[in-house]
Symmetry: C2
Subunit: 362 residues, 2 copies
């Protein structure tokens, strides 16, 4: 276990649907689990002060930096970059990672803006053209890493290979596995199925002789089966798969709730089984999987769901703590070095990042 002593996190105090309330409440919860960590919280001091008075423990563990500008949840990345450059709580939280004032930044703000600012401030790592958003997905075997969940729309095969390398390093760190298995999300297991990008990426991963336990293709239902430790996909498909799964969970919980209310007998049954239902509710609680990491940047930025509460935000802080304490970045950089020269070898012309992707996140 790595120590969290001396770890400082930069929090975007204004991000998310409920802004400072969620952030400062979440910091309080996180301090119970990690009493040694410290925060720098960026935001509107007038709004944050009364909350800090209510949470003296957070106040004691934090430095507060007043900012005038907040990025709105519906600002386009270009707008956010124009309006929030060097002045917004989001920008300054990310910048704190660059300057070394903090070891990771957490924001519940708008994903597109967070991604755009993170790229401008932290830049991508060597051998990475586009970052990916990675998160943990509950499975029958525990949890798997799934990426990309929406940072890069329309990556090419070579960018999918980069995601695979970064996701594998993330899984090693977060699960403590030596050789996590990696699968490419597709519509079948046969080599001939799928988009050109995914077929080419599979070929590259098979041929590249990377020190990676590459499983091949996996299908949608393999994610929750836990067939592999790392599921690699493009941001469009990954985002849709994630939200489809979240919607499915909500629907079933709703079905279950109304089934338990459907008769006197079922209501009695519910009372007896209450603690089992409570355990199940915890297991299905989306807050416990909150916190996605931008991989491929020279610094750690964790994205919290915008509509989570303090409890959920604390889970995003957990992810930041785990990742920052585990020296993830250096592990990724060293794994990516294994790709040196490979893209040329595969005959792929180096090309600039997809124009399309930027717009897609706006």
């Amino acid at each position: 276990m790595v120590t969290t002593r001396g770890l400082t996190l930069a929090l975007d105090g204004m991000g998310g649907d409920n802004g400072p309330e969620t952030v400062i409440g979440g910091a309080e919860v996180a301090l119970v689990r990690h009493p040694d960590i410290r925060f720098v919280i960026y935001g509107d001091e007038a709004k944050m002060r009364p909350l800090l008075d209510k949470h003296p423990r957070v106040a004691a563990a934090s430095e507060i930096v007043h900012t005038e500008v907040s990025i709105a949840m519906d600002d386009k990345p270009s707008q956010a970059l124009r309006r929030g450059r060097k002045t917004s709580s989001m920008w300054l939280a990310i910048d704190a990672v660059k300057t070394g004032r903090a070891q990771a930044a957490v924001s519940a703000g708008n994903t597109g803006a967070l991604m755009a600012m993170s790229k401008v401030i932290l830049k991508t790592m060597p051998n990475v053209e586009r970052p990916a958003l990675a998160a943990l997905w509950p499975t029958a075997r525990g949890e798997s890493v799934v990426l990309d969940l929406g940072a890069t729309i329309g990556p090419d095969a070579w960018q999918l290979v980069q995601f695979a390398v970064m996701g594998e390093a993330f899984a090693r760190v977060i699960f403590g596995l030596e050789r996590p298995s990696v699968g490419l999300l597709n519509i079948g297991e046969e080599e001939v199925k799928g988009t050109e990008q995914v077929k080419d990426a599979a070929k590259m991963l098979r041929d590249a002789k990377l020190p990676m336990n590459f499983h091949g293709f996996v299908e949608g239902d393999d994610i929750s089966k836990g067939t592999v430790d790392v599921v690699v996909t493009d941001g469009y498909t990954g985002n849709i798969a994630l939200k489809t799964a979240e919607g499915t969970v909500r629907l079933i919980v709703e079905f279950l709730r109304s089934a338990m209310r459907s008769s006197i007998l079922s209501k009695i049954g519910y009372v007896f089984a209450q603690s089992a239902f409570r355990a199940l509710a915890t297991k299905l609680d989306p807050r416990t999987s909150n916190g996605a990491v931008f991989l491929g940047l020279n610094g750690i930025v964790v994205k919290s769901h915008g509509d989570t509460d303090a409890m959920g935000y604390a889970y995003a802080i957990d992810v930041a703590v785990d990742v920052a304490a585990a020296d993830l970045l250096n592990k990724i950089v060293s794994d990516l070095a294994g790709l040196d020269g490979l893209s040329g070898h595969e005959g792929r012309a180096q090309k600039p990042a997809n124009e399309e992707s930027e717009a897609a996140l706006s």
Copy 2:
């Protein structure tokens, strides 16, 4: 309600993981619901005869056509077309729709082969370049139509527009709605998000002045919310979303099962609530949503899950009966006529079907 008298379905007796057993067992179940329908069953008579002896009702309602060749679940479409042309149970079942011997074909066989043969035999409708696989998805409001679930990988914007028109006609017929709402699956609701294809398709649907209730973009969690009656996507994303949702259901059912077994109290609770759990199990039973329709062909072909049982297969027969009885094809053709001249208007060069898509299904 439309009559089913005189309706004949062609069944591919050899398709699916369990072949004739599922097909003939499923026909028995279907005959309880639709006593007037008749079958032509294509398959290996030696294998089917003992099963027909066990199901005299099916035998009485069916004509049996002996075939030597069966398409294997892992045959590539090209292989299937070579080996099974004019001789296989799959080919002959589809051909029966073309010749008018049957009003719809049902197969639990391999999707790629079924799609390839259906295209060769039935051809696509005017204004349709690529078929789509459509199915019903359980939602908080009942059911929605989702397409494409894997027939066309990498459709362009114009093909997505065709899917929208076909899916809307399907929803009108199957739900009896006058103006079903139609949404395009994307990673956000804003116009600037998503792939180029999905953005262009949205623009075309907004500008085309079709008599369609076009809602705009929907996200993954909108599917199970039932935000729209018809969700349009490409076959790659649709297939992954469907299987991800199926996997999520299985995972939660597993969590629920182990929660109910976790203590004496929860076991007692389970006994009291048993009938509620049984109702829930029925609601979540994937067999009840079995049966996807290939839209865009000059004939009705229904795809059953390969690994379903007789009960599930009967649901696929239900879909075929509903669609065949409702004059769906003529409704789609007339709706597609609304696209006449539009593709030129939108400045899109007519191009042949994606090469890629064919291979993708192999």
